[in-house]
Every structure is written in C-alpha cells, then in structure tokens.
Amino acid sequence: MKNLPLLFCGIFFALAFSFVGLILSSHIQLGSLTQTTETLVPSDADETVLVMVEGDPLYPAQPVGFAQQGKDVYISMGCIYCHSQQVRRADFGADIDRGWGPRQTVPRDYILQDRVLLGTMRTGPDLAHIGGRPLNADWHHLHLYNPQITSEGSTMPPYAFLYETREIDGAPSADALQFAVDSEYGPDAGYEVVPTRRAKALVEYLLSLKINYSLPEAPILE
C-alpha cells in the first residue's frame, strides 16, 4: 500500500464510518428528544397518534439554580470517578433491587443535563436516584464531612474542607452539623461545624437527583 491518496482515503473512511454510524446517528435519533408527560394518550384527531396528556407535568424536570451550582461542585471534586448515575434494567445487575432507582434510566432522563455524568465506576453506589432515597440533607452533610460517621468502613474520602469549623457565637447555627453525642468526629467543645456554600449547593444537587417519574418508553412498574 504505497499510494498516499488511496491510503488516506481508507484511513479517513474508516473513522468516518463510526463517526457517522455512532455519533451522528445517535445525534439524529436522540438529539431532538424533549420533555414529555408520564404517559401518552391517543389524540382526539387521530387515534393512532399518541400525544401528551394536557395539564400533566413534564419530565424530566428542569434542573433548578442552586442545585446546578452543586453540580459544579460535584464536577470539581471528581465525584463521577467513584459514582455512576445510571440505573440498569431489572434483569441486568441488581440496581433496581438495591433501591438505586424504581426503573431503568433511559436517554430522555438526561436531555436537560448540560454535562451528563453517567460515570463508569461504582466504588460507591449509583446516585441517579439518590434524592429519592430517604437520606436527608443532614445525613448528606455528615456523610460528606466524614463518610465514616454514617458509613463506617467506607473508602470515600472526607470532604471536611467543604465545611468550616468555628467557635459557637451565642447560639449554635441552624445549619451546624448534628453529631452524635460523644462522637469522635465532632468538633471540640464550644465549636460547631457549618457547611460552606459549596457544601450546601452540593447537597441540594444530590437531593435533586430523582428518577421518581415514569416515561412513556420507561414506565415505573413496581
């Protein structure tokens, strides 16, 4: 093979083949997905056409401001390298069984995310539906401050640098972290640990991650 133009053509088309077949075609198939109501009904005009239900809320829900800032913290800390955000279908792995989501996640769940954080490692549990699990903001703050507090034996790193330890000024702050009495992780007497803005945003983001809605192509079955 010594003809440069011919060789070059072959090299070009080899990559063009997958560029078109994978990237462009998935863009065509998925690029125009929009929000939808949880179910579709036959339209009045033509029974064979399915349309959205009038007045029903649209999903996936538009992400909200402060949670978006929390997403920036998530990205900045590299949380994706231990946590995925995708729920596999019921007969493939035990994701739904573990309560990581009521159903499989599908492409439409991610259309409003400016950066999709699917992840490929589960050193820690999947977070696609973490906001839908009964873990409240207090739990998240304690867990982030030092994962050993809520999950002993965890290998998650501590994010104490997202919190501020300061002297209690009169009364304790409303958002001071509530440690168990005599906890070895609590601050010294007279001090409290409060979340910085970044920590609060991050927890807001985590609480916003919910797959608690059906989609026409992926109904919640249980």
Partner: protein
C-alpha cells in the same frame, strides 16, 4: 570499527548527505559503532494468510451479523433491552406482595441501623425482633415511621435514646406503599407474627399526621389510638395459640 569509510557515489543525494556526515568526523566512529551492528531495515515476507484464519473471520462476521439483527431492537430509539419485542405492548405493572416489598425497603433503608436480623445495636438502635412496639397496634409503628421518634424508649427491657428520622411526607418521603410494606415485613419476620398493614391504612395515618413536624416521644405513642384496622390476621402457630393476648399486652405496657 576504526576503518575509514569509503565513499561510493550511487547518487548525488547520497553524496551530499555523506559530505554532510563527513563534516562531523569525530562522530563518524561512534555512528558506525551502533549502525554497523544494525540489521537491515525491516521489510515484510510474503507468507500467505492461514486458511483457518479466513474461516474464523467468516464465522465471526456471520455471528456478528446475526447478533446485530437479533439484538438491536429494530434500531429504534426507544428500545433499551436486547430482547426488545415491539409487539409486546405496554408492560404491566408488577404487583409485589406487601411482605416482599417491605423486605426490600428494610434491606435498603433500615438494616443499616436495625440490622439484618432485626436485633439492633445494643445501646444505640433498638431491636425489632420480639418487640411489642412492632407487633402491637399498627398505628404505633406507623406514627414512628411517618413522623419519627426521639427521646428515651424502653424496648425489651433496655433503654434507647436515639433519633429515628421521619420517613413520611414531611421527612424522608417513603411512599405509603413502601411504609405499609416495611411495617408488614417487620411485623412478620424474625419470629414476629402480627397482621398485615395495608396501603390504605397507611394513607389514612399519613393524612392524619401530614401536618405534624415534631417526632413522637415514647410516652405519647400509645395515646389516643384509633381502632385496630380490619385485616385478616396472619395465621401462624403463634397467633393460633394467642390471638387476643397481644392487643391487651400492648395497652398494658404503656410505659414499659
């Protein structure tokens, strides 16, 4: 390696490069040391491709083609399972028994503290196995789950002073179905035997306590209880022997 190098002149290009090379005389010796022992520049032999490889290639292509046809869901954007069947119609919601649903919720939400065997952690989290708080009037457990519990409570002779979070709509928001399931589960696992608690019952209780934002205290738990919900009692050896004893025991042990 100390021979002087000859200067053949196959082409003018060579001559130029050689002249250039000759300029750095001292380096010539060392260049040759490494280059002299180098073998020829690589080139390919022309052995044929083994036939077996062509068969393997063909077999793989065939397999690949079949796989793509079988498992591509018709190339549809909404096919997410390799066994996608476009003729299957809408999937039916799966009905899971209350007990099984509860087992799953328990494992994912409760076992961290109350442990898989329902024995709790001494001094920290109360046991559920053999506890009449659990097997008594279902409204008691429902109150705890919906609005939470704090302050001291005596369970099976020991005092616990912790913080049970609220799992109702004003707290961690487990669904009524899930709360009904998990209460049913803890009432019937580990040797406990008590009645089911249905989703309707929990829905009622949820409405009742929707506005309540403070957790319960142990002393209040058994006050003003409503009627025991009508559910077919669980038939086990234990209940056959003493179905009525539990209710009385529950009311007697108000501050136990």
């Amino acid at each position: 390696m100390s021979e002087e190098e000859k200067t053949p002149e196959p082409s003018s290009e060579s001559r130029e490069s050689l002249e250039h090379a000759a300029m750095q005389d001292g380096d010539m010796q060392d260049v040759h040391a490494q280059l002299m022992r180098e073998k020829e520049e690589p080139h390919e032999g022309f052995s044929p491709v083994p036939i077996f490889l062509m068969f393997v290639f063909a077999a793989l292509c065939f397999w690949g083609g079949v796989y793509l046809v079988e498992h591509s869901g018709g190339y549809r954007w909404d096919a997410y399972s390799p066994d996608f069947d476009p003729n299957a119609g809408a999937p039916k919601p799966v009905e899971i028994a209350l007990f099984d649903r509860g087992a799953k919720v328990y494992r994912n939400q409760c076992a961290q503290c109350h442990q898989a065997e329902g024995l709790g952690v001494p001094g920290v989290y109360p046991p559920l196995a053999g506890s009449d708080w659990v097997t008594g009037h279902p409204q008691v457990t429902a109150r705890i789950l919906i609005s939470g519990l704090n302050g001291p409570i005596v369970v099976k002779g020991n005092t616990y002073n912790g913080n049970m979070p609220a799992f109702g709509s004003s707290g961690l928001a487990l669904s009524d179905k899930d709360i009904a399931g998990v209460i049913t589960y803890i009432r019937q696992e580990w040797g406990n035997s008590a009645s089911d608690v249905t989703e309707e019952t929990i829905a009622e209780y949820s409405n009742l306590y929707a506005g309540r934002s403070t957790p319960w205290q142990a002393a209040e738990l058994k006050e003003d209880l409503g009627p025991i919900p009508e559910v077919a009692p669980l038939v086990t050896e234990a209940t056959e022997a003493a179905p009525a004893v539990e209710g009385e025991a529950a009311t007697k042990e108000a501050a136990h």
